[in-house]
Symmetry: C2
Subunit: 454 residues, 2 copies
């Protein structure tokens, strides 16, 4: 009896597909035209079913990969062909929204957008947000500790201010021994399977103000962040930096939005404040910016007055695909660096990238308050050697500065060769030890994040 037959002892026929039936599936949302290569895909409906599937797979030393929305950017759900794939899409129930605890309890397969909408219908905010919200599932978001916009005010997924309280509990503070959930957040399905989560909801801000700011030196980008963070005192929710070339590309005639400011500064900052008094807070924001203009911290600024201004400003920042789709071939990075080093390091990286044969251009932007920079490289071909040369240019400064090869996207398959640049030998040794302890048969997303057999 082979393993697919045994799976049918646990699940109904509709819950197991294999062979030709796999063809309509895929391992990544950008690879929907490639037939899925795997032993089988299963669709459990309960935690108990997942537990039985894992028990079976452990007994058979059978590799498994958990499939959420498959929107990750680092090959975390790539298959080799010999895996059982656990799709979470049938575990898509919102179990409870508790008004007094201000929590939502959900199964792992619920989409981020569904959670945002449910929160919003109940006059709450679920602050986590990013482009793939219509496909990304909360289980995958937790497994990868996803970040996105508004990390500044509300934190990333791991952070209790952002999202998870506990896999099962609604209590906010719990110091009863080891906080095991922390181990699973961000482990990319290599240590366990997230099946349910209790999410923390926030009161919906009733005001939203934004401004685009032009700044000419990186020192002033940092100084203005400190200045406005202090002046806004808890309301600052976004401080997004866009480098001049990226801004020009995002606002050019062919692809982009109309430019809110003239394209003549070195840096553009998009700030956002979320609060409760729309007009008062806008006037306060205007005062703060005027003082910054007088102090020569910033060169120029434009404040959003209407909902359509806000949409215009934020569409510009959120429509990153404008950049990617203007590239012949594109290669993405999400590094992090200590904030004061970012200006000169990124200048150097961009110079080196643009001098490389095969690179057309490089575009830089980021969540600067978190030290998190995104780079999109426009290149001539998908050539492996070129890809590695580009990786080397971007990653080589990180180790000496205490940066990270992944601020948000995770390690997955694609960044594994570079993990040693931001983690010490001792750290990687301990990670392997933990992986062996929690997954002794190495069946959970094997060969992703770290190789325990090396």
């Amino acid at each position: 009896m082979n393993i697919t037959d045994k799976l049918l002892n646990i699940l109904s026929q509709q819950q197991v597909i294999f062979g030709d039936a796999l063809k309509d599936n895929y391992y990544h949302i950008w690879k929907m035209d490639e037939p899925l290569n795997a032993l089988a895909m299963v669709f459990p409906k309960t935690t108990e079913e997942i537990s039985r599937i894992l028990e079976l797979c452990n007994n058979h030393k059978q590799a498994v990969i958990v499939f959420g929305g498959r929107t990750n950017l680092v090959g975390s759900t790539e298959t080799m062909g010999n895996e059982i794939l656990i799709s979470m899409e049938k575990m898509n129930q919102i179990i409870e929204l508790d008004q007094s605890s201000r929590t939502m309890t959900v199964e792992a397969g619920v989409l981020l957008e569904t959670i945002q909408n449910k929160a919003s219908e109940n006059d709450f905010l679920f602050p986590l947000n990013f482009g793939a919200k219509g496909s990304a599932q909360i289980g995958g978001i937790i497994s990868t500790n996803a970040g996105g916009l508004r990390v500044l005010k509300y934190g990333m997924t791991r952070n209790p201010d952002g999202t998870i309280l506990s896999s099962l509990k609604k209590i906010i503070k719990d110091n009863s021994a080891y906080d095991l959930k922390q181990l699973f957040v961000g482990s990319e399905g290599t240590l366990g399977v997230v099946t349910k989560a209790v999410l923390k909801l926030r009161e919906t801000p009733t005001s939203r103000n934004s401004a685009f700011i032009g700044i000419n030196t990186f020192d002033n980008v940092v100084a203005f962040l400190k200045y406005i963070d202090k002046k806004l005192a808890g309301l600052l929710s976004g401080y997004e930096l866009i480098w001049a070339d990226t801004y020009a590309q995002m606002t050019n005639d062919e692809t982009g939005s109309k430019p809110p400011l003239e394209p003549k500064y070195k840096y553009y900052v998009l700030v956002e404040s979320l609060g409760s008094q729309q007009e008062k807070e806008r006037n306060n924001l205007i005062d703060i910016i005027e003082q910054a203009l007088e102090k020569k911290l910033v060169e120029d600024a434009v404040v959003a007055y209407t909902k359509s201004d806000l949409d215009w400003f934020w569409k510009l920042r959120e429509d990153v695909h404008v950049i990617a789709s203007s590239c012949t071939y594109d290669q993405h990075f999400d590094i992090s660096l200590p904030i004061p080093t970012i200006g000169t390091v990124l200048d150097d990286i961009n110079i080196n990238l643009r001098q490389l044969d095969g690179v057309n251009h490089s575009y830089t932007f980021g969540h600067i308050a978190d030290g998190n920079i995104h780079i999109i490289v426009d290149k001539d071909s998908d050539d492996e050697l070129l890809k590695n040369k580009i990786n080397d240019i971007v990653y080589s400064p990180l180790q000496a500065l205490g940066g990270s090869v992944s601020a948000e996207h995770g390690i997955g398959l694609h960044k594994k060769p570079y993990l040693h640049l931001c983690r010490t030998e001792a750290e990687i040794f301990l990670m392997k030890k933990l992986k062996r302890t929690l997954d002794p048969n190495n069946i959970l997303n094997p060969n992703k994040v770290i190789d325990i057999n090396e």
Copy 2:
């Protein structure tokens, strides 16, 4: 050659004390009159020395306990007599304050108060705060994931919004594989030794407003929290609940402060808002409270107008020792519960406690926005049987409701028998597995938190 001699191969004579020299030391700040019972106490000055001490102790299967400020409340630093004690007091250097990264890098032995002062001198806020700040060291604070006041706005120690970025890095976002530091935060010295930390600093708020509110139902305590959190939109930094009996005791003629409100309501809430515009924000707070009075959400309120009002209000809440020192014998709890259950559960607990022979009274207060309740029981004697009966009354409702026996203080020695009430068998099994993996010889604070030999 015994182990104390071998320690002298690693450390200077001034760095190792044993025998009679131990007498001037103690295992807890409240037990300074009891002679310390241990093999030796060592005072390393570097991470490398600690590493060599641990290597030696591992080779000898020699138990060690790390001594920070010894202010914990759960017996985490109690000795049996056969331990080597590692004092962190010589590792007390502030290594760097980085203005642009807004971080402070410190050795583990630096006092919380020293960190707060250094931040303040540089116009930053280190938001973590609690009574023992003049004794508690940052390493111990991290090891126990301490909370305290202002968790609502800034989070607990674990939370990047509160304190630690990484043991070694200044970057705020890092998704490069497993976040190992999370495992050590709150593990009470049973998995490793914290030697250094990078702490996140915040901009200092330039305004502080507070009000005392009288409320008669727990439903309204919850409703007013939601209401004011939404209205203050990011500025709410404290929402401390005091039950009527506690309030009366804290404001009586003998021991307490003058009462800001008449002692005739069931609950008293102390709210705090931290921001940037003292007067505007006070007026806004007054408007918000007036609307709540009109809506009958709250019964009565008084707002602080001066610095001395603020000091008066907060002294009342912070002077918990007024309660403890009014007790014949005192027994403390720091449970957490889902917020909507707190009103009736605490009513029941208090009734049951006060009916128990040997109990004089019980005093309840807490960080209600975090679901974290403190109870101080005034009792006739230190009798073990009475202590256990009191424990049973307080802890027995927790399991069914998904609460925790420790919101802040940790498990240590004293709460170990009750850990199973808030952690499943599977969780405790996994904790033991992790302990065995990271500390195979069980030398790190053995018998605290969990017993791996059971």
